[in-house]
Symmetry: C2
Subunit: 217 residues, 2 copies
């Protein structure tokens, strides 16, 4: 499958790009600037080679990456994601778009979930795009996930209003060792998943913990 | 410690009452009607005896239970919890009150978290009471928890604005085999914990699962 990791320069972007490429998917790293995307692709390919995988990742400007891909993952800081979505509306029409976005704010030492008017970041993304938006990956501890040699067992709650698109993302996610994906319902449920992320951060801060994900069981 | 399980006639109430009594705490089951509370206490004591624990649970009307106890747990359906809180305001003044409340609504086949004006059920409870409100136990699969012989490993996110009260609830919770409590911050974080419950229900319904709790890790 052709997967674009848009703005894929954060920890989640690295982790997804490398893992999907290692699984044999065609991964394109997107960035606002082509040079930055190509630089990142080089960097990720070196990691792949180090672990004896083929260095197949390409770098493209976000628009070209989105145009080529079957699935585009918005690994973009949430404050910038919506303007990026507006700019990519045409090239993403009818395609699968994954929202790992979590709108958050910090008050003192406490992280709070920012309730958006649309209900969640995923629903806001869906309201801007004319795409098959699926919400996933919000609760993955990104820094550890970026380390290809890391071992973990985390669950991923996947929501979306397009059942087929959701199924594709669930199957794709289950291919990654250590991740287990669950259908958690329509996009209206995404706010419950997104708000787990600031909860995890608060628990980590208060208890001196790192890399806390969730498991259902 | 003297623990009142108010309206403790649901599955969560049974599970907490029996487990705390088995640990040697003085447990009082509260109900609107004394006879109902006494009947429930008898029922729970029979279970305790069956598992070779002392049948020490007493039944009292909610007001008397709250008056006697150091800690009162609101195991009451959330729709009725706030009027009960108003009636118990005086007897609960200055005491520790635990909110396991989750405001939920069902739309079609989907469970949604009902955002209250106060931000969460725990914050609404705190706004009514003049008590040291701690939020906990929302995500415990209550039916399985009610079975004293059940084995599980679930985490409990505990929030509250009174650090000492929160510490008491965390220590109490950690005494229960299979539960692990975490300080998750102030009461403003409770909404993130409460909204995990409808998420778990949606995942169970969609995936044919039962008794799904959460683990952080």
């Amino acid at each position: 499958m052709k997967i674009a990791v848009l703005g894929g320069t954060g920890h989640l972007g690295i982790g997804l790009a490398i893992r999907f490429a290692a699984l044999g998917h065609e991964v394109i790293v997107g960035s606002r600037k082509l040079e930055k995307a190509m630089g990142k692709a080089d960097e990720y390919n070196r990691i792949l080679q180090e672990f004896n995988y083929k260095p197949t990742i390409r770098g493209l400007a976000n628009e070209d990456a989105a145009k080529e891909a079957d699935i585009s993952i918005f690994t973009i800081p949430w404050e910038h994601a919506f303007s990026t979505a507006e700019a990519l509306r045409d090239v993403l029409r009818g395609k699968i778009v994954v929202s790992p976005l979590v709108p958050m704010e910090k008050k003192g030492k406490v992280f709070l979930y920012s309730q958006l008017e649309e209900g969640s970041a995923a629903e806001k993304l869906a309201s801007i795009l004319d795409s098959r938006v699926v919400s996933a990956y919000q609760n993955i501890p990104a820094e550890k996930f970026a380390d290809i040699s890391a071992e973990f067992k985390w669950d991923v709650a996947v929501t979306g209003d397009d059942g087929e698109a959701k199924k594709v993302v669930i199957e794709l996610t289950n291919q990654i060792d250590g991740l287990r994906a669950f259908d958690a319902g329509p996009l209206a449920v995404s706010r419950m998943v997104e708000s787990i992320t600031p909860l995890l951060i608060n628990i980590m801060i208060r208890n001196g913990l790192k890399d806390l994900g969730i498991r259902f069981g």
